[in-house]
């Protein structure tokens, strides 16, 4: 950044006492020009066309209108996949969150001194994190067949990767004083870890888990699209058959569920921190 700031002649201002100060030029114009260039390229590549959008925008509301009012009597068919979705994300979140703990400890700099192992774990996890859940689920359906197992596996892997990252960053910022104090009193490393480090981490860790569960419910709802079980399968089917009022019912129940889970999770997270 400082390179760009010094690239252009700085504006000189003479103060009333005769002193000359230099004001660096703002880099905003350069950033704007570069951004404008990229936007132009993007518009060319994606075929973005405002006229099409304005002319055909009413088609967007077609499906939306067809969804209202939802078919309320369809609710009885939705409960089962809805609970499947919640169960998938719950199980995936719990397994992923528990499995993340040892790896997060191994990936943190202040606990694990072995830099080779630490870096290997970190690289593997950053690669795991880059794969979107839906694509993991897609691959899982090819290996384990269509069904809830593939979806749960995808959610587990996602939770595992993301909680490991959040947790090891947390472990690295932990206060090591109590840990050293306990060690000097004669406690073993494990004892000191349990008594001095865990109480510092537990509230944030649980808050992460709840947050992840919240995200996972939303992800689990789309996994059905690649055949990995849950409510997405039903939704995809209803959309494909153009039974929009039924799809509207599915979306409505999903919305209510997510709002309930979100507000519960927010309440507990507030209590935790």
């Amino acid at each position: 950044m400082s390179f760009f700031k010094n690239l252009f002649a700085q504006k000189e201002i003479t103060l009333s006492n005769g002193k000359v100060v230099k004001q660096p030029r703002s880099i905003v114009p350069i950033v704007l020009i570069i951004l404008g260039f990229f936007v132009y390229i993007s518009v060319e590549i994606t075929g973005f066309d405002m006229q099409v959008l304005i002319r055909r925008q009413r088609f967007f509301f077609d499906i939306l209108k067809a969804m209202f009012p939802p078919r309320w009597d369809f609710a009885s068919d939705v409960w089962q996949p809805l609970f499947d979705t919640i169960k998938m994300s719950l199980l995936g979140s719990i397994i992923g969150a528990v499995a993340a703990v040892p790896f997060a400890v191994l990936a943190s700099q202040n606990v694990n001194q072995n830099s080779i192992l630490r870096n290997i774990i970190r690289v593997v996890f950053s690669i795991l994190r880059t794969l979107p859940t839906l694509i993991i689920a897609l691959i899982a359906t090819y290996i384990f067949g269509i069904g809830t197992f593939a979806g749960t596996l995808a959610i587990t892997i996602f939770t595992f990767a993301i909680i490991t990252k959040m947790l090891f960053e947390q472990i690295e910022t932990v206060e090591m004083g109590p840990f050293e104090a306990m060690e000097s009193l004669g406690a073993t490393k494990t004892q000191a870890f349990i008594a001095a480090i865990i109480p510092q981490l537990l509230p944030t860790y649980l808050a992460f888990c709840l947050y992840c569960f919240e995200i996972n419910v939303r992800y689990a709802a789309i996994l059905g699209y690649v055949g990995a079980g849950g409510i997405g399968l039903l939704l995809d089917e209803k959309l494909a058959w153009r039974e929009y009022s039924r799809a509207g019912m599915v979306l409505f129940m999903l919305f209510v569920t997510v709002v309930i889970i979100e507000s519960m999770s927010r309440y507990f997270r507030k209590r935790l921190t």
Partner: protein, 269 residues
Amino acid sequence: MKDNIRKTFEAQPKTLVRNVLIALFLIFLMYWSSTAIEYAGIHQGGTNVARNIMRGLINPDRNLLFSTTAQGVPYLILETMAIALLGTLIGAILAIPVSFLASRNLMPKVISGFTMLFLAAVRTFPAFVYGLMFIRVAGPGPFAGVLTLALTSIGMISKLYIESIEDLDRGIIESLDAAGCNTLEKVRYGILPQLMTNFLSTTIYRFEINVKNASILGLVGAGGLGAPLLFAMSAYRWSEVGAILIGLVVLVLIVEQASSMIRTKLARG
């Protein structure tokens, strides 16, 4: 000295019963949720698929990975990034008025509550639902992807914008008022500097997420890396699958690194 330590040790709250109850509850939850999981064993030929994907990753289709035609991975990466850039930009701009409408410290409760409900709805509905709706408007292709990302981005971007708007320091605006500034000057010198860094960093963060989302949207036919991946998988062309997956991983890793670098720069000022 020793007595003091023992007393403190014995005075700590007893949490054993509570912990056991929590553990039991968790075990019950796991049991309850495992009832939905049907494990039918590995799919017929599943191990074969896994082995083939591994082989594809190690030995990707080099023609596809480095070709500069419209089917090649480099062009697909460019397309994914273009979709993400436009989608994020439009979403970020649309999110500004929405988040001002939703902030509790500026708007009456009814308006902010209503806008919040709208935002929750935007965030809940899966992106591919919007994708299908926009395909009606723009036809299958990257344009539909841009529109979908723009709409779905509003949800999360607004949520983060609202937080920084609700943290606005009003003292600064009052002192500018006292100095005799007009509304435009108050916005320029009192509000923009407070919000700009947070807004920028949120937008860049969302761009990072959108690069991932753009690759998913291909699955509904809205451009990007997803559609060729799906085709390659259903046709069992594993070396192509490997090439596309490698492209995806490299793209996301680079964008993630760049985004976190810029955001730390912004946070330090």
